[in-house]
Amino acid sequence: MMWNLILRRVAMSILLLLLVSAVTFALQAFIPGDAARAMLGPEATDEQYQALRAEMNLDQPVVQRYLSYLAGAVQGDFGTSLYTGREVLALILQRLPVSLSLMLGSLVIAVAAGVLFGVWSAARGGAVSKFVDALSLVGFSLPNFWLALVLAATFAVAIPIFPATGYSPLSDGVGYWAYFLVLPWFALSIHGISVIAKVTRDAMMSVLNMDYIRTLRAAGIGRGSVIWKHGLRNAGIGISTQVGLMAASAMAGTVFVESVFAMPGLGLMAVDSIHTHDAMVTQGVVLTFAIVVVLINLIVDLLYSVINPRVRVS
């Protein structure tokens, strides 16, 4: 039954990725301007411009170009950058660790901190619950681009604890890697912490009021065990759903956060490639984002069936 679930999800994911690639390709075709004009500038003659367009195959119909791209993509060839000539796949693999470090780290922090706040709020209730509610609202409303700038201004400039910009790869040491990521992680995770805290609190409060919880307490089961082992397990369904949704927004958030902290990830590469009309790179980055989100949601779906056996049966 689990294999059926996986196979169905994989088949749907492939269709989804095809749709994403087609829409992205089409949208790029409608963006005014092209790479040839971006390279040559306004002072080139029309003859030079048309010659370069032909050299880059930009004069071919959109559908023809897309089918060419697709034919290459299914064989693992995602094209080359119009500017650097480097293979798009190589560029993506070079930058993927940066974005994954940022995104996955912020997701882990969002889940851990969000669950802690949510459980604390549900277990204590009263003023604590209202306080967490208010914090959630504020955190949810703060745009992560603005927050990133404020964090950098405060904890990198005014109180110089962390670096204002940059990224250190894992190969240079875990400590140094994490050090450069503290502020970006915080900027990207605030939104997720707020959402997870609220969902956890609501789910926990609902669960903790159930009869079987009272029965467990009456049977002498410790409060901690009741909350963490029994209550949270049931609340975990809502939490895992939110993680799947947050993965997409975290990927989108990397665009802003990488820009502010000058991190050489996929988000920044996406912005650059759109500005310069480097269509193959844009296509590759969008597809990569889509694959990551699809994978995370697949894992969430599987996790869902582990947490809730009824899903497996159905």
Binding site: M39, Q48, A164, D272, H275
Partner: protein, 521 residues
């Protein structure tokens, strides 16, 4: 008593402290020692290949460091020696220009720079994809000896030498190894400049590191043990990196001034580098008959309070100017005596419009580069002031330069905002005067302009300055362009790390990057 629960918190706190301690050793990175220079730039280089790289500072830093050009520019903005130490025109018609390579010039790989390398490089430029390709369409190169190259132009061209200076890239000679496989040029450097790209310490999209070229002919020119260009897209982030010492230099504008103005060790150096103006395309009156009348175009010039508009768009980093050229050497055509030729005079503007029969106003449209925030402010202010003359202005934003060209080519707009970077007039006038020039999309025939342009083409270096000024006067008399602002490029730098960079001879050219010296020298 320490419980299991306490231990969990203690371990978490310890891990956090450990992370901070481990990471804190070496905090900040870059902009570090006295002998290392770190600059910020807002984007990855378009290309490391000189033929495809963008021209003009500071995007040319990536190429300039590793590629010495054939000629350079001195403190007065005049041609000076580079890899070539002799140069001259061979004819009075300015169609043949000869250079002689200096003794001892070598590429970073140790091979000698020869005339054949120069010829091969020029051919690479002629067939390249960069913005300077347009300048080389009519010029070929031929090696006449091991060290001498003659450039031949099919049309008179008094600027061949200028094209061989760092700003225009074409003189950036590439080694035989680099040209044998041009793909190498996209990720490595193969030049004869004072530095060479350290590929082991370079991460695309993050930073580009350069180390001294041991084979450079003038080791005294090498001031730094290492030069790093960090890619930091956001200008506020650049300002923060400058304040924290992560970088030594950034290019800024008024938006970062609040961040930097009160910081003791941050200096600035500014100079006008481009003229932002409204170019009147429809002078035949096809879309807007009013624009065919020179009195109407002159009225548009009189109807602008340039100082107020410039202050709104550029703050302290620009000034209003009615001259359609940028201050520079004589070939730029800038004439300071004309800067108040169209001083703000709305009464005079109304008079001219009445005389021309457009006292009640007319309609026009302007396309502008929407990705330039300051240009957007400028154009909106211009439209508001012209509306006071009764002129109804439709604004058509373009998403980028490519889109801007496409909009102009539709011939559905009467005017275009353009930030024309400071350079010799003969380099930008073809855009306006040639049949296929983007600013001549309506194919306007203007005998006065044609005559002044031909005079400029035929003038040599000695008479070129007077001819350029005459061309500027003709453009102003015909009111072809409505200049608004002279815009300054501003460099903010750490005064503790390096000496103030200087602009050469008042031109838009900053000192070459490898002329910047440590503060300690």
């Amino acid at each position: 008593m320490i419980t299991k629960k306490n231990l969990t918190w203690i371990a978490a706190a310890g891990a956090m402290a450990g992370t901070l301690a481990l990471g804190g050793c070496g905090a900040g990175g870059g902009g570090g020692t006295d002998n290392e220079l770190t600059l910020a730039f807002s984007a990855d280089p378009i290309s490391l290949d000189p033929a495809s790289s963008a021209n003009g500072n500071p995007s040319s830093w990536f190429v300039q460091l590793a590629y010495q050009s054939l000629l350079s520019v001195d403190e007065n903005g005049e041609l000076a020696a580079g890899l070539a130490d002799k140069w001259e025109y061979l004819d009075d018609g300015f169609t043949q220009f000869k250079i002689t390579l200096r003794d001892g010039a070598k590429f970073a790989d140790g091979t000698a720079v020869t005339a054949d390398d120069v010829v091969a490089t020029i051919e690479h430029f002629r067939t390249g994809k960069g913005p300077v390709v347009a300048s080389w369409a009519d010029i070929t190169a031929e090696a006449v000896s091991d060290t001498e190259v003659v450039f031949t132009s099919t049309e008179p061209n008094a600027l061949i030498g200028t094209l061989l200076t760092p700003k225009y890239m074409a003189g950036s000679v590439i080694s035989e190894e680099g040209l044998a496989d041009p793909n190498l040029l996209l990720s490595e450097t193969h030049g004869a400049g004072p530095y060479v790209l350290d590929t082991a310490d370079t991460i695309e999209g993050d930073h580009y590191s350069y180390v001294p070229n041991e084979n450079y002919y003038d080791q005294d020119q090498i001031k730094w043990e290492k030069v790093t260009i960090k890619v930091i897209p956001n200008s506020t982030s650049q300002a923060q990196a400058l304040k924290t010492g992560q970088i030594d230099v950034m290019v800024g504008d008024k938006s970062v001034l609040p961040e930097l103005q009160d910081v003791d060790n941050i200096g600035e150096s500014a100079n006008p580098v481009y003229s932002n103006a409204i170019w009147l395309l429809d002078r035949n009156g096809e879309l807007s008959p009013a624009l065919a009348d020179v009195r109407v175009r002159q009225a548009l010039n009189f109807g602008l309070d340039r100082d107020a508009i410039t202050a709104a768009a550029y703050g302290d980093y620009g000034y209003g100017d009615a001259v359609p050229a940028t201050p520079g050497d004589s070939s730029y055509g800038y004439d300071e005596s004309l800067s108040d030729h169209y001083d703000y005079n709305p009464d005079r503007a109304h008079e001219l419009l009445e005389e021309a029969g457009y006292g009640d106003g007319f309609d026009m449209s302007i396309t502008y580069k929407g990705h330039q925030p300051a240009s957007k402010v400028m154009v909106e202010a211009v439209a508001a002031q012209w509306e006071e003359l009764g002129i109804n202005v439709e604004l058509v934003p373009a998403t980028d330069t490519g889109d801007w060209v496409n909009v102009i080519n539709t011939k559905e707009v009467t005017a275009a905002q353009h930030d024309n970077s400071g350079k010799p007039m003969l380099m930008w006038l073809p855009m306006l005067m040639s049949d296929s020039g983007v600013m001549n999309v309506f194919d306007v025939d203007d005998p006065k302009l044609d005559k002044a342009y031909q005079t400029l083409i035929d003038a040599g270096a000695d008479e070129g300055g007077a001819a350029a000024k005459a061309m500027t006067k003709a453009l102003m008399d015909e009111a072809v362009i409505v200049p608004v602002s002279q815009v300054e490029e501003v460099y903010f730098f750490d005064e503790d790390a390096l000496q103030a960079p200087e602009f050469l001879g008042g031109t838009p050219l900053l000192s070459y990057i490898y002329d910047w010296e440590p503060a300690s020298e």
